[in-house]
Symmetry: C2
Subunit: 341 residues, 2 copies
DNA sequence: TTGTAGGCGTTATCAA
DNA sequence: TTGATAACGCCTACAA
C-alpha cells in the first residue's frame, strides 16, 4: 500500500538472476531449477515481495473486478443479494465494486459510468424505481458487456435476468386474502415503470378475476416502493366511501408504512383491516406481517455465476432465471372469522 | 469492458500524429495546437476512446481504490457509514472495495489480505466482535498503510479512530433510567473484547456509582451483540431471585431480542420491565425503543476525509475523533410513575 | 508545437 | 534451465 514496494527486478538483481527467471520461479513454472526457485521464493519472502496486480492486469487486459449497482443497500434485501454475489465471485478471485443509486436514475447512470471507467469486467444491476436508463443498458449490451439484472429487471432487454415469479406470488397472496374472507382488497402498487410493480399488480388482477371478484379501479393506487410513500395511500383509501377490508402492498416497506399510519389513526391490523407485504423484511417479521420471502442469497449467487459465465464466454444464451419463493402467513392477515369481530 | 478497446495509439495512427501528441491533447496540456487538440478530441469521440486507467495507474503507482471492512452490512448501521464514506471518496475519484467479515475474525483477516492484494491505497475498518487481529493491524501501521478505524476500534493502536463517546452516552442512558425511577438496572453487555462493549459497560458502572446505587454483579452479563444472543440474557435474568426492573442492552439488536423474548413470556415492555438499547435502529424506532442515535453518515464522511488526508500525506498526527450523539427517549423506558401500575 | 524514447511491473516469446 | 527483449497502454522528459 504505502511503503515502497519491492519488485521482481530487485529480487533479480539481489540474486544475480534475470527478471524472467524470477518471474518463472514466482509463477512456479515447470521450466526452472528447483534450487533457484527455492532461492527466489526465500528472497521474495525476505523482501516482503507482493506482485503488482496492476502490471499483471495491464498485460492480461483484465482486472478481476465486477460492478454492482443497486437502488439502495440500507435494508437487508440488497445487502443479502450482494453477499450472495461476493460469496461466488471472491472465490474466483474477483472483487466487487458496489454502488447504490439511492433510487435516482441519474445517480444510477453515474454509477454505471464510474464502473465502466474502472473497467470492471461485468455488471450486476437492479434498476431504480423509474427504470429510466434503458438506453444506457442497450448500449452496454450492444458493446457486449457482460451484465446480469436481478430483482428489478428490464424484460425488454436481451440479458440474463434473475427474478422470482412476482405475478404468481402476488396471485397467491391475494388468493390467500380472498380465502381469508376479505372481499374489498385494495392494492398499493409500486412505481408503474418498475418490473416488479407491473408483475405484482398483474398477479393481483389475476386473482380477483379467478375468484370472480369485480375489479374496483378506486382500490388500486400507485404509491411507490419506499416506506414514507405509504401515507399517501392510506390517506387516499381511508376517505373512500367504501373502504377496503384488506390491503395488498407492493412490498414490505409500504406495508409497514401502512400499519404505522393506520395505527396513528387508531386502526388495528388485522382487526380493522388486513395488510400484506412482499419480499419479507426483518421488521415485517417482527410486526407479524404476512409476506412473500425471496431467496436473496441465492439470487446473488446465481447472478454471480451467470456473470462469470458471460465473462468467460459472452456468447452464451441469455436467459431469465426464475427462482422459487415462499408465502409466509402471519397475523396481519388473520382470517375474517378469527379476527374476533 | 468486453469489446476491444481503442487506444491512443490508434487515434494517433488514424490521425497521422504521434501518441505523445494525442496524449497531450487528451490531457489538455497547454503545449498543443488548439486545432490538433480539436481533431484528436473529435477522433477520440468517434472511436469511443476510453483511457485505460490500469495503464495510467501503473505509471502513477496508485489505483484510486480504498478498502472497507465491516463486521456486517445487513442492518442499516454500517451501510449508512459506508454511504458516508462513498460520498466523500467518490467525489475525489476513489472507488471503495467493501468487504464484510460476518463477525468472523478469520474472514476479517482474509478480507484485509484480499484488499492488500488489490493494492488499495488505504483502509477503513470496523473490527469484528472478538477483536482478534491486532497483530495484522500493527503490521499495516508499521508499514505505514493509511488506515482509519470506525465505531469498533482498537484504542491501543496509533491510528485515526472515529467514534462517539460510548461511555458518556451509556452513562446518560442509565442516568435516564435511574431518573425514571428504576432501581434494579441490569446490563446485557457485548463481547468483552469489543471497544464499544467496554465503554458502555463502564458508562453503566459510572452512572450507578454517581447515583449511589450498589453494583450488583449478577445484573451484568456479557451476551454479545447479535439479536439471537439476547435470549440467553433473558433466560438468565428471569430466574434471578431478585429480578431487574430495567435492562440496558449494549445495542438495539440485543434490546429488540429482549423485547421479543419477554413478549414470549407474557411480559410487557415497559409495563413489566423497561428496556433500553444503543445505536438506534429503524426497527427499534418502530418498537418505541429508547436508544442512542449515532451520526452514522458523518462517521463515514469524517473517516473518509481522514483517510484521504493520510493517503496524501501519511505523516499527519493520528487522532481519535469523538462525534456527538443523541439520547432518544421512547416508550420502552416510560417513567415508573407513568407505567400505570 | 510536435515527435522520440524510456519506463511503470509483469508476462511471454524467443535465443542461448 | 536461463537471459534478453518485446509487449500491455499511458505519460513525460528531452530533443527536434
Amino acid at each position: 500500500m504505502s511503503s515502497p514496494k519491492t519488485t521482481i527486478k530487485e529480487i533479480a538483481s539481489s540474486l544475480g538472476l534475470s527478471i524472467a527467471t524470477v518471474s518463472r520461479a514466482l509463477n512456479d513454472s515447470c521450466e526452472i531449477h528447483p534450487e533457484t526457485r527455492r532461492r527466489v521464493l526465500a528472497k521474495a519472502q525476505e523482501l516482503r515481495y507482493k506482485p503488482n496486480i496492476q502490471a499483471r492486469n495491464l498485460l492480461k487486459r483484465r482486472n478481476n473486478m465486477i460492478g454492482i449497482v443497486v437502488p439502495e443497500f440500507i435494508t437487508f434485501f440488497f445487502p443479502e443479494i450482494i453477499i450472495g454475489i461476493q460469496e461466488v465471485v471472491n472465490k474466483q478471485g474477483y472483487q466487487a465494486l458496489i454502488c447504490q443509486s439511492n433510487e435516482s436514475s441519474s445517480l444510477e447512470r453515474k454509477n454505471v459510468e464510474m464502473l465502466e471507467d474502472s473497467m470492471v469486467e461485468g455488471l450486476i444491476v437492479s434498476v431504480t424505481k423509474d427504470s429510466q436508463n434503458i438506453d444506457l443498458y442497450e448500449r452496454l449490451i450492444q458493446e457486449r458487456t457482460p451484465i446480469v439484472f436481478v430483482n428489478r429487471v428490464l424484460p425488454q432487454l436481451q440479458a440474463d435476468q434473475i427474478v422470482i415469479d412476482d405475478r404468481k406470488w402476488a396471485f397467491k397472496m391475494v388468493e390467500h386474502l380472498i380465502k381469508c374472507g376479505y372481499k374489498q382488497i385494495a392494492h398499493l402498487a409500486g412505481n408503474p415503470d418498475l418490473s416488479v410493480s407491473k408483475e405484482r399488480l398483474q398477479g393481483y388482477l389475476d386473482a380477483l378475476a379467478t375468484y370472480n371478484i369485480p375489479i374496483q379501479e378506486q382500490f388500486i393506487m400507485h404509491v411507490g416502493v419506499q416506506q414514507d410513500r405509504a401515507k399517501s395511500g392510506i390517506d387516499y383509501l381511508m376517505v373512500l366511501k367504501e373502504k377496503p377490508d384488506a390491503i395488498f402492498a407492493v412490498n414490505d416497506p409500504i406495508a409497514i408504512g401502512c400499519i404505522l399510519e393506520l395505527r396513528k389513526r387508531g386502526l388495528n391490523v388485522p382487526k380493522d383491516i388486513a395488510v400484506a407485504g412482499f419480499s419479507e423484511s426483518p421488521i415485517g417479521k417482527i410486526m407479524e406481517l404476512t409476506s412473500v420471502s425471496q431467496p436473496t442469497f441465492e439470487i446473488g449467487r446465481i447472478a454471480a455465476e451467470r456473470l462469470l459465465k458471460q465473462i468467460e464466454n459472452y456468447n452464451t444464451l441469455k436467459e431469465t432465471i426464475v427462482l422459487d419463493a415462499k408465502l409466509n402467513i402471519r397475523n396481519s392477515t388473520l382470517p375474517q372469522s378469527k379476527r374476533g369481530h
